[in-house]
Amino acid sequence: MNKLVHNELLKLFRKKRLFVIILIIAALVPLFTYAQYQEVKTTREKLGNVDWRTQLQQEIVDTQNRLSSSRMQDDWRKYLKIRLAQQQYYLDHNINPQAPGAPTFMRVFVENSIDLLLPLLVMVVAADLVSSEASGGTIKLLLTRPVKRWRILLSKYLALILSVSFIVTASAVLSYAISGVVFGYGGWGMPLLTGFSTSGEELVTNNVHLIPQWQYILMEFGLVWFVCLVVGTLTFMLSVLLRSTAAVMGIMLAALIAGAILSNMVSSWESAKYLFMVNLSLTDYISGMATPIEGMSLGFSLIVLLVWAIGGLVVSFAVFTKKDVF
């Protein structure tokens, strides 16, 4: 088994996929860093004041002003109210949620890339794991060996898990290392609040507690890893089903982007919460953002994603061991 996995990793390595992904992340992170830096700079200029409390208070007032406008959709209003309660909580407890530093950047980066960017990168690796062998014809050579088919597929899947882990680690390390040049490398111990949950319009704070930022980040990356695995598994399934890598990529791409669009418009279509792509923003539960559909919670989303992943795995193995290869 070890050798099989090693063999698969070797293929991935030779194709330079991981290398390309690292390059992509390394190119994007400076971009985001610069954007974040500019944002910090303009808010400072606008306020003429560097005290974050004033800034947060100003944000709260701005939100209150927006809330008093009559032309506003209900779910947006709800979102703003939750945000407001949370900002007020931070302010009252004297916690700066935006303290500069590379760890904070990492956190913001991962929260914003969990539903699209990182799944896309994972997709690039997973999309042609099997289908390229089918379209290239090498699958015949692979299957003529005296190894059971499920073992071959399993070795491919394990290689996928390893590369997903590698991608997540690479994005963590790169975002930390690059943004730290601008923001400084400190700030791991900053306390952050988590455990917000929403019921209706209310922000439930009775489970709210503080954790240091390093733990917060570790938790968020754990969730990112999970999301990437699920997306990877589903791509893997498609890769087994379809011969064409382009088709696999197209379908996954459409699904992921549809998820990003749907999250903004499904608030009244309740059964949409069983779609995997609406559940990808797991980090929002940690930071206490409003959910796209009422009734969603961290546990719910984890289970939905898990079910989809298991379904994907079952289909992959069932099809791969049975299908005729020609």
Binding site: H6, L9, L10, F13, L18, L47, G48, N49, D51, R53, T54, L56, Q57, Q58, I60, V61, Q64, N65, S68, S69, Y89, L91, D92, H93, N94, I95, I161, L162, S163, V164, S165, F166, V168, T169, P191, L193, T194, G195, N207, V208, H209, L210, I211, Q215, L218, M219, E220, F221, G222, L223, V224, W225, F226, Y285, I286, L298, G299, L302
Partner: protein, 270 residues
Amino acid sequence: MRKKGLSLVTALSILSALVWLAGLAWVLQDQFFADNKNRQAESLKPDTAQQQKQNSSGKTLQIAAIGDSLTRGTGDPDGKGYIGYLKEELAKTTKKEIELTNSAIKGQTSVQLLKQIQQPQIQRQIKNADVILLTIGGNDLFRGGQALEELESKNINKTEDVYLSNLKVIYKEIRSLNKNGIIYHVGLYNPFSDMQDSKTTSSIVRKWNYDSANAAAAQPNIIYVPTFDLFELNVNDYLYSDHFHPNKQGYQLIGERTASLIRFSEEDQK
């Protein structure tokens, strides 16, 4: 070389898989199973030392603005409001750096303002301010311009009584937070002075202003800044298209008038 690289990546991948799995497990433990009663966020102690450090330098002029949409700047296409123009005017006359915090909320009435100034951050801003700007009462009186037909004297007197008692508490509250800062309360104008019934509306606004000015005079260092006269003629030239809030020119008038009241000592002048 190649081989080494691969095994390095493999080892790294396995290691990171374990780390992220641990992270995921921690999420489950933290969000679902932990007993959070013992580690409530309340235990946090605010770093008061940092809060005190402000206002120590004499080089800056701190302005805290509170109130309603007039202070917010509703109707000004540039979003500055009279505060923005006031700041520009002051910048011409002083060397001091002007730090402005605008905490006004559109549609705020005196009751809501009373609540808002209980918030610790707002209190901190007021405490640190050299100048406090305030507009309030417009929403009590006009309720967004919808209550024109109801301008019966009985109702008006009642609303005014409520407003005045709120205003007195607001003044007192600000004074107790900040003993020396000067409060400029910008008065009301009559946006309806070119309509029928303008006599009635104008007299109501005049009385309202008069009573507010009386309340202001009861406390030291509260300046009630009249704006009624500014808008009396040509009111339409100075109003925004909602026919209620000032437009850019209107805000400029208010800003210039208020700025002209703020003087600086010799050394701070330009």
